[in-house]
């Protein structure tokens, strides 16, 4: 029941927000912050209670029922939701201070947390599909929030991709459920399925749910979504895209049986799709002048790394994907916070325009550097731990495409490093061109606190890498791998 409460609470609080009478300028943000913190506390209580929970509505109509379950992977995702949402709202509090329609913004932003929670603890494919729809439904108004030309363009792209992805996900969910394979428990579901329907439904689900993580051909919206306010980009590129990864993980490890897929052509097809997306994202990253959009393209690459690791169908691959989900979320959220601050405080977007402004925004650029180095995989930051897990897992399987994936991931280290350094070094070393009377200031207290929280989380993830990795391996064992 605690799980259901965690799903419903943010949605209800978000829905109630516009109804509250007579508010000051900060009221909606504070309401949202309170609600999110409350949900986060409940989530952490559920995560650390240590019990595997199950909950089902309409169980009689199985497989068409609403099911929630809490297992190892769900715990990780929910814990991540719990620690990322409060700093994101705190950051939004500063960013959206002068924006129009704050009520609506914070309502959707709060409600999106409910969708994320539902994704994490969905117990069967149909519930997961519902979570997917809720995630998209909450994301769309956030993307078009500013209602200017750019936002509307971005929201159209998002809507088209979401519709196509949703259809594919529907095919997958309905198909597997019809064969009695909808539950995330290969041992318990008794359904049988032929090879051809398996391939069709699996690929549909991989692409459909993978849309949230920006898999080809659904990569474009991820870059365009950066035209939305910074807190929204941060959300879409961390928790919303993580939802896609969790969904694909459920599909590959909960519905299909990893042992049967490993080594077959279907595995190669999944690997190729993910590798192609990774290469595409990394190349687009280097060809874009806009810093925020470069970071967005790097997301496309990084989520594909997780998809590559998931497509390995090994315990190591699963561990690596989840580990990278964790480290990438922290780094990427921090990076989007920083670009958001830079845009708000200096109105600068391209690499060239940022020359010399590092000294005027020292906190922002310090965090940008640390987060960027983590994303690149610089030891001892958490990104190195996850990237080492990713590459080692790919190498240890020994197939041709697995090796290609490992090399692509190693090369991405160079590309990400170039991406980060080309911003950071000129920003700190060169002299800025300031317009008359222009004065550059660093961010305010709320955003600084949000950045500090993320840095503390990165430090914790690095220091606790050992125990964390063991927990992740336990997730793999829980699924019968390793």
């Amino acid at each position: 029941m605690l799980l259901l409460l965690c799903v419903l609470l943010p949605i209800l609080l978000g829905a109630a927000l516009p109804l509250l009478p007579g508010k000051g300028p900060k009221a909606s943000a504070l309401w949202s912050l309170t609600g999110v913190c409350l949900t986060a506390a409940l989530l952490l209580a559920a995560v650390f209670s240590g019990r595997d929970e199950r909950f089902a509505l309409f169980a009689g109509a199985a497989p068409f029922c609403f099911a929630l379950r809490l297992d190892g992977a769900a715990r990780l995702y929910l814990a991540l939701t719990a620690v990322l949402w409060p700093p994101a709202v705190l950051f939004a509090l500063e960013m959206m201070r002068t924006a129009p329609r704050r009520d609506a913004f914070f309502a959707w932003y709060t409600a999106a947390m409910g969708a994320a929670v539902l994704t994490g603890c969905a117990g069967n494919l149909l519930t997961l599909l519902l979570a997917f729809l809720l995630t998209v439904l909450a994301g769309w108004p956030l993307v078009r929030h500013m209602r200017d030309g750019d936002s509307l363009k971005a929201s159209r792209s998002y809507a088209v991709c979401a519709a196509a992805g949703g259809l594919l996900a529907l095919v997958c969910a309905a198909g597997f459920s019809a064969f009695g394979l909808g539950d995330f428990d290969p041992a318990g579901s008794g359904g049988q399925i032929g090879r051809v329907p398996l391939a069709i439904f699996l690929l549909a689900g991989f692409l459909g749910f993978g849309m949230l993580a920006g898999i080809l051909p659904f990569s474009g919206w991820m870059a365009k979504a950066t035209l939305a306010p910074a807190p929204v980009s941060a959300l879409l590129h961390t928790m919303s895209a993580n939802a896609g990864i969790i969904a694909v993980m459920r599909l590959l490890y909960g519905v299909a049986s990893p042992a049967a897929l490993a080594g077959g052509w279907l595995q190669n097809a999944l690997l190729i799709a993910a590798i192609a997306t990774a290469a595409y994202g990394e190349i687009r990253m280097l060809r874009t002048p806009d810093v925020e959009m470069r970071i967005a393209w790097s997301s496309v690459g990084n989520f594909s790394f997780m998809l590559i690791a998931l497509s390995l169908f090994s315990g190591e691959g699963l561990t690596a994907a989840l580990s990278h989900m964790l480290s990438h979320s922290l780094a990427k959220a921090a990076l989007f916070f920083c670009t958001g601050i830079i845009l708000m405080k200096t109105r600068r977007v391209t690499v060239r325009e940022m020359h010399g402004i590092g000294r005027h925004l020292p906190w922002t650029f310090a965090v940008f550097t640390v987060a960027g180095l983590s994303l690149m995989g610089m030891p001892p930051l958490p990104g190195f731990v996850s990237k080492s897990a990713l590459i080692t897992a790919s190498f240890s399987q020994g197939g041709w495409w697995q090796h290609t994936g490992a090399v692509v991931m190693a090369v991405s280290t160079v590309l990400t490093a170039m991406d980060i350094f080309i911003v950071v070094f000129p920003a700190f070393c060169m002299h800025p061109t300031l317009e008359d009377g222009e004065e550059l200031r660093d961010c305010g207290a709320a955003a600084k606190t949000a950045l500090a929280v993320l840095c503390a989380l990165m430090a914790a993830a690095s220091l606790l890498a050992g125990p964390l990795t063991r927990d992740l391996q336990a997730i793999g064992r829980g699924m019968g791998l390793l």
Partner: protein, 485 residues
């Protein structure tokens, strides 16, 4: 707890660097502080190196990744070398940077780098090595872009990009070895035939990529392009240690991969060895030729480093005892000689502002000590007895002949040609400086101060002294080589 002493040479310079920054030490106090701090760091490193039982400490990070510091034979060589070089360049910088800006930042990063280099010398496995290798790259960038003009920033970016490419090439190998379940520890023979079963060919390609990657820092063709750009734009003391010391860390990586991880037996006689030997010889000749043609003094010295560090790599790639000994000797002697040469160039630039080699005629009369030390180092680099350069090159040539490969004579021949070119680009400078010929304008006396001359003089003495009394060094290196092969 007893092993915590290994942390001292790493932690103390880093802590002192940060402390100096936190206390906002400035001006004269900062100059004294930086010299004292780096001397202290160097003494701690030397103590670690000379401590009889070596030592090892491990910090388990995750099940797969652990950070290990261990003092073995090769670590001792590097630690002692750092003790000789790092404080000397600090003393030099105290005078050279006296009237330059940003000395606080320079001191901070100089001391941080010292700690990281000590850690790199003691790294006991690949993950630790990679960790500190990347740290070294990032921390030395501020030394390169010290002047903060457009040229320096561009050079620093180039340095970074090349270095990161090299490090990630090494990274591929580190994770490949990890995926085999081998620990990646620097102990001869960690990779057995069983762990590699069925993937020998792929493993060879991986080792090649790793060695190319570490070769980037050592300026090996085709990834040498950053070196002649980045080293000259740094201030002279930084150029000295970048060329003399930092390039040797790439060499250390290559030595660790060949002799400690892959095992020389596995690579000997394979295409990997042939390809690397070719690349290193190409670099030797190309570097010398480019140095010969270069008119800017510091850039000439940088090209010379490209060539000379590849001598070392060549020695390692021969995978023979004599080659290994020659390589280590040349690590020591080239570090001493190149530091002296860059410091000499720094003296000239500092006192006269001249950067082109054609402007230096007759300058030897004005700066006799600078030119004397410069001449000793030049003779050493050419390889003229009794300097150390002769001993190391002799050993390298022997190593090349001992490989038994077809065309083994090409190695010594290339070394000889390169030595002639070296004489051409260095001794001509000395001769034109000291014996300018009739009718040349002799500049007024403008010798550098004692803080700039003292380290140069000390190194010049060592170049000759260690060359004459080289037996203990050769014995030590030979014992090291025997243990590995």
């Amino acid at each position: 707890m007893e092993q915590m002493r290994l942390l001292l040479p790493v932690a103390v310079p880093i802590a002192l660097g940060l402390l100096g920054r936190a206390l906002r030490v400035r001006g004269k106090a900062l100059r004294v502080y930086s010299v004292c701090a780096s001397v202290l760091g160097g003494v701690l490193a030397a103590l670690c190196a000379l401590w009889p039982e070596g030592g090892e400490m491990t910090l388990r990070w995750t099940d797969m990744l652990s950070l290990t510091l261990r003092v073995d034979g090769l670590s001792r060589v590097y630690l002692l070398l750092l003790t000789l070089l790092w404080p000397g360049a600090a003393l030099y910088a105290a005078e050279y940077l006296e009237h330059s800006g940003h000395t606080e930042r320079y001191t901070l990063f100089y001391l941080l780098t010292q700690g990281v280099l000590h850690a790199l010398s003691m790294s006991g496995n690949l993950v630790t090595f990679y960790t500190f290798y990347e740290a070294m790259t990032v921390l030395t960038v501020p030394l390169v872009l010290h002047n903060q003009d457009r040229e320096a920033v561009a050079a620093a970016m180039k340095y970074l990009v090349y270095s990161v490419i090299g490090a990630s090439a090494a990274l591929i190998g580190i994770f490949f070895i990890a995926s085999l379940g081998a620990p990646g520890d620097f102990a001869a023979g960690v990779l057995t035939g069983e762990t590699l079963a069925g993937r020998e060919g792929f493993a060879l390609a991986i080792f090649f990529v790793m060695l190319l990657g570490f070769g980037v820092k050592a300026g090996m063709f085709p990834f040498h392009g950053w070196l002649p750009t980045a080293h000259p734009v740094a201030p002279a003391p930084a150029s000295a240690v970048l060329s003399g010391v930092i390039t040797k860390m790439g060499v250390l990586g290559a030595a660790r991969v060949i002799y400690y991880v892959a095992g020389a037996e596995r690579l000997r006689g394979t295409w990997v060895q042939s390809a690397l030997l070719c690349l290193s010889l190409i670099t030797v000749l190309m570097g010398s030729t480019m140095a010969f043609r270069e008119k800017k003094l510091k850039k000439r010295l940088a090209y010379s480093s490209v060539s000379q560090v590849s001598y070392v790599l060549f020695g390692l790639f021969t995978m023979t005892e004599a080659g290994f000994v020659g390589a280590l000797l040349h690590v020591v002697f080239h570090a001493l000689m190149k530091n002296t040469l860059f410091m000499g160039a720094g003296n000239i630039i500092h006192k006269t502002g001249k950067t082109e080699v054609d402007e230096l005629d007759g300058l030897g009369r004005a700066m006799p000590w600078t030119y004397a030390f410069f001449a000793v180092a030049s003779l050493g680099l050419v390889g003229i007895p009794p300097t150390g350069g002769f001993i190391s090159k002799w050993s390298l040539a022997q190593g090349a002949l001992a490989t038994g490969l077809p065309g083994a004579w090409i190695g010594p021949a290339a070394l000889l040609i390169s030595a002639v070119l070296t004489a051409g680009y260095l001794l001509s400078l000395v001769i034109r400086g000291c014996f300018p010929g009739a009718g040349t304008h002799i500049p007024e006396k403008c010798e550098a101060g004692w803080r700039m001359l003292l380290p140069m003089g000390a190194y010049a003495v060592l170049i000759v002294g260690l060359g004459v009394f080289s037996a203990p060094l050769i014995r030590y290196f030979t014992a090291l080589a025997r243990a590995l092969m």
